[in-house]
């Protein structure tokens, strides 16, 4: 192959660049740049291209570019992908890691909302973190066309180093099988916090991913744990939920993907979701038993915020602790849905205060008004309060403030 095209262009494409690279025998580097930002950045883009080709040892080539305002990390990824496709080089051009991208994650952080970003669409990366999702998922699987998988991986690597996700947990969704393990090779060294394993059906798959990640981390001399979130998307996966949830220490959450699950069952996915009730229940129970977070499927009608909120409330009622999002506007609704409502909070406060009073008075029985309160009710109220404090809905010293009111 003498000529290759990487990247995207078109009337609706923004912040990307289509690169057409052709290796030639003589004549040096011939550049042809079409760009809407040519006046401001034309020289910078040409300089960057020449430097990159030189870095990859290419002395003779024709490089045509159709630019819609791509940032340097995108241009670099597109050119590297083109060079790799033509020469098969193992060499990588790795941009400098931005200092603000070195933050860590933790096992028990909230994962209410996680925003899917199609891995080959750089226009959506840049502002994703500004919408305050709990996590961003750079997706290499279903949202990337098969013939674009290689270039997406390079783009995602550069994004992990350059793009500021403003504190969101940095997640990637890898491909299935061998390709997925290759995804890990390229991406794990760049401060990935969590890996989503798609269409997971058994513990073995989880262990394979976990082992490979630990090998890479050891090789790189990095020691943070990379968390795993298997996605259950089939009948077999549902039946093996418990063993998947406990397959590795790094599993912190388990998600369900209902589009594929209903397809596997050969039924329609409905808004009411009767067809997936068992699977969702099973996933919640297995997750809770394993001490990890159960995460619900995405809600695909991005225009229907009321439907989304109802969906979140019913998921929360089933025991789910998060949900995927495919549009930034879904994030706030999901957070609101999973947060304790004012009524819930008031009730929880009363119960916790009554429990404390009973303890102080040495009473064996806790009562609120004329109603007896069982220990599990107290435990649930305490969970609600802890959640509210962590979400900043209640100050940590709320109980002192309550008492000073009385």
């Amino acid at each position: 192959m003498k000529q290759v095209i990487t990247g995207n262009t078109g009337p609706r494409i923004r912040s990307d660049i289509e690169v057409m690279l052709e290796l030639t025998e003589t004549g040096g580097i011939e550049l042809n740049l079409k760009s809407k930002v040519k006046t401001m950045y034309g020289k910078a883009i040409e300089r960057q291209c020449r430097d990159l080709l030189h870095y990859f040892g290419i002395e003779n080539a024709r490089l045509s570019m159709n630019d819609s305002g791509a940032l340097p990390f995108v241009i670099a990824a597109r050119i590297e992908a083109a060079v790799k496709a033509l020469t098969g080089t193992e060499k990588c051009f790795i941009p400098e890691m931005a200092a603000e991208n070195l933050y860590a994650s933790s096992r028990d952080r909230f994962r209410f909302s996680r925003l899917y970003l199609p891995g080959n669409s750089p226009g959506m990366f840049l502002n994703a973190g500004l919408h305050s999702p709990d996590g961003v998922i750079l997706d290499l699987e279903d949202s990337v066309a098969p013939e674009r998988k290689d270039e997406a991986r390079i783009l995602v690597r550069n994004a992990l180093r350059v793009v500021n996700f403003y504190g969101a947990e940095r997640m990637i969704r890898i491909n299935q099988g061998e390709r997925g393990l290759d995804d890990l090779e390229m991406l794990i060294p760049h401060n990935v916090h969590l890996v989503l394993i798609p269409k997971c059906e058994d513990a073995e798959t989880v262990r394979k991913v976990d082992n490979r990640i630990r090998e890479i981390k050891a090789r790189e001399g990095q020691n943070e744990m990379v968390f795993l979130m298997p996605i259950i998307e089939s009948a077999a996966g549902v039946e093996h939920a418990m063993e998947i949830a406990t397959a590795a220490k790094s599993v912190v959450a388990m998600a369900i993907g209902l589009e594929d699950y209903t397809a596997d069952l050969g039924v329609q996915r409905t808004k009411e979701g009767k067809e997936s009730l068992y699977a969702r229940n099973r996933l919640v129970v297995a997750s809770k038993a394993a001490g990890i977070q159960p995460i619900d499927s995405v809600f695909s009608d991005v225009g229907d915020m009321e439907g989304l909120l109802n969906n979140v409330l019913s998921a929360k009622a089933m025991g789910f602790e998060g949900m995927g999002c495919i549009h930034p506007r879904q994030i706030a609704v999901i957070r609101e849905g999973f947060s304790p409502s004012p009524q819930e909070l008031e009730k929880a406060k009363k119960i916790v205060i009554a429990y404390r009073d009973a303890l102080e008075k040495g009473l064996g029985v806790v009562a609120l008004g004329t109603k007896m309160i069982d220990p599990p009710v107290v435990a649930r109220a305490e969970k609600t309060i802890t959640l509210a404090v962590r979400l900043g809905l209640l100050p940590e010293n709320w109980i002192d403030l309550e008492e000073s009111k009385n």
């Binding site: 930002v37 006046t39 034309g42 020289k43 305002g69 340097p72 502002n127 919408h131 930034p328």
Partner: protein
């Protein structure tokens, strides 16, 4: 002609199209003298006794008005992108062999691109008004014979009133008119709601032609154009394409990033205390502004507050506020959608209010200084808070000023903008073209932080410690450059292709021909 440095440090021509021009002297520094301009005194002797001024065609009307070389012809832009009248004027002039006309529209739209051929064949010497798209490109490339003059809506009124421009013939499309020339913006097949932009034209033009596709019985009431100022009435099949005059419904942005900016803006209005019961507010019809209107409406509902009035460009979202009791009145210079047009017809508190009365700086006060909250856009803002709305960073002239400069005189000017568009920073070290001085721009709201003009310590104090992402304008510029890289400046030729007027008629900046 020579270039002189004005008070804003910009090099501007001291002469425009053969007439002396005054360089910008600073905000509120230039004081005009003399008397307002007036057209010749007419007499009833020259008009038909039955007052039927209908003539056979626009061509006949133009000929009877004495159309000849070098004249200035004005139009209004209420037909927006559905205007079927303006281009005809120049087609007729070209056919008659008339040369070197000056076109003075209150704004131009993509539908006016055919005028380029009349600029090329010498029928039209220049445009004094807004230039968008291909027309802007035509000017930027130095292909227009005369120098373009860009004025704000209020600046256009000022220039006509003061006699800076003298209109020989005003051709005013009207959705309804009677045979005497009384005209209004409602009714007929091409309603625009209001036609207030025509006010300085009919008052000050030497000759006035009303063009309508809806001749009604006398009196055409309530009239916005008064028949005793009108020379001829032309009845035509169609003055406009309705779906291009107003939108069915103006659409709120779907961009999550723009919605984020709108939310942040609303939060700023709340936390700063600027939004309160009885406040006055104006926002445009851009997608972000509409979203702000919706969020503000929600907040007003929650608080049980009512804005005392809003100034339009009206949209469905303002009409909703009016109808639900969260806005006392809409004062309206132009209707952007069908809901607004309908509202003007039925709601007594939705009032036609021309920019003639609202925006003119050479007036005994105007409406803009009464607005508490003013939401505006910009193509560039620099670290001195100066704003540009007419060119892009590549130097091409692509937008008109609209009412932007006039609105800068509001009490609190808030500019919600993305920090960069694709790779192009909006916050820069120096605006490509200066349209508004930084001392009048108070708050810049971007998705990556809010910068308050240091001159507004009161606003800084009001919002400090309230959880808003406050940054300095320099920080915003640095963030933009860190993400996008430092942009190079556009390369210009020496030739001035357009002059940018300030609200008082002085020259605030000049646009040069781009080098290709």
């Amino acid at each position: 002609m020579k270039l002189v440095e004005n008070a804003a440090g910009r090099l501007v021509p001291d002469e425009i199209n053969g007439k002396e021009a005054i360089p910008f002297m600073g905000v509120g520094k230039y004081r005009p003298s003399g008397r307002k301009y007036g057209p010749s005194i007419p007499t009833c002797i020259d008009y038909p006794e039955d007052n039927n001024k209908v003539v056979g065609s626009l061509k006949e009307a133009l000929v009877r008005c004495g159309l000849k070389d070098g004249m200035t012809v004005s139009t209004h832009h209420h037909l927006r992108d559905g205007d079927l009248v303006s281009n005809q004027i120049f087609a007729i002039a070209s056919e008659l062999g008339v040369k070197d006309l000056v076109w003075l529209p209150s704004a131009s739209f993509p539908c006016n691109d055919p005028v380029i051929q009349y600029l090329e064949d010498g029928t039209v010497n220049r445009i004094e008004g807004s230039m968008n798209g291909p027309l802007g490109m035509f000017v930027s490339e130095g292909r227009m014979k005369g120098m373009a003059v860009l004025r704000s809506h209020g600046g256009r009124v000022q220039a006509i009133q003061d006699g800076d421009v003298k209109i020989d013939i005003a051709v005013l499309a009207a959705p309804a008119a009677d045979s005497f020339g009384n005209a209004r913006g409602t009714g007929g097949p091409s309603p625009t709601g209001v036609i207030g932009y025509a006010k300085p034209d009919y008052l000050y033009a030497e000759k006035v032609i009303v063009v309508t596709d809806n001749l009604v019985n006398l009196p055409c009431f309530p009239m916005e154009i008064e028949g005793n100022y009108v020379d001829y009435v032309v009845v035509t099949d169609k003055i406009g394409i309705p779906e291009k005059i107003v939108s069915g419904t103006t659409q709120i942005t779907k961009s999550p990033d723009r919605l984020l900016i709108a939310e942040l803006t609303t939060s700023f209005l709340e936390k700063s205390g600027l939004l309160r019961d009885g406040a006055t507010m104006q926002a445009g019809a851009g997608g972000t502004s509409l979203a702000i209107a919706v969020y503000v409406h929600q907040l007003l509902k929650k608080k049980g507050w009512k804005l005392s009035f809003g100034f339009g460009g009206s949209t469905k979202y303002m009409v909703d506020m009016l109808e639900e009791g969260h806005m006392g009145y809409i004062l309206d210079a132009q209707a952007f959608d069908l809901d607004s047009v309908a509202s003007i017809e039925k709601n007594l508190n939705h009032i036609a209010y021309p920019v003639f009365n609202a925006y003119n700086y050479h007036s005994k006060g105007n409406l803009t200084t009464m607005m508490d909250i003013m939401i505006l856009g910009a193509t560039e803002i620099d670290t001195g808070f100066n704003g540009n709305v007419v060119t892009h960073s590549d130097g091409l002239l692509l937008h008109g000023i609209g009412g932007w400069q006039n609105c800068l005189h509001a009490r609190n000017v808030i500019v919600p903008v993305p920090l960069f568009r694709d790779r192009i920073p909006v916050i820069v070290d120096r605006v490509t073209t200066l349209c508004g001085p930084g001392e009048l721009i108070d708050v810049i709201i971007t998705e990556r932080g809010i910068a308050i003009n240091p001159r507004r310590q009161d606003l800084i104090d009001a919002v400090r410690g309230k959880g808003l992402p406050l940054v300095t304008i320099e920080e915003l510029k640095d963030i933009a450059e860190k993400i996008c890289g430092k942009p190079e400046k556009a390369d210009f030729d020496d030739r001035v292709v357009a002059a940018i007027k300030w609200v008082d008629g002085t020259v605030i900046d000049a646009v040069r021909k781009v080098k290709r």
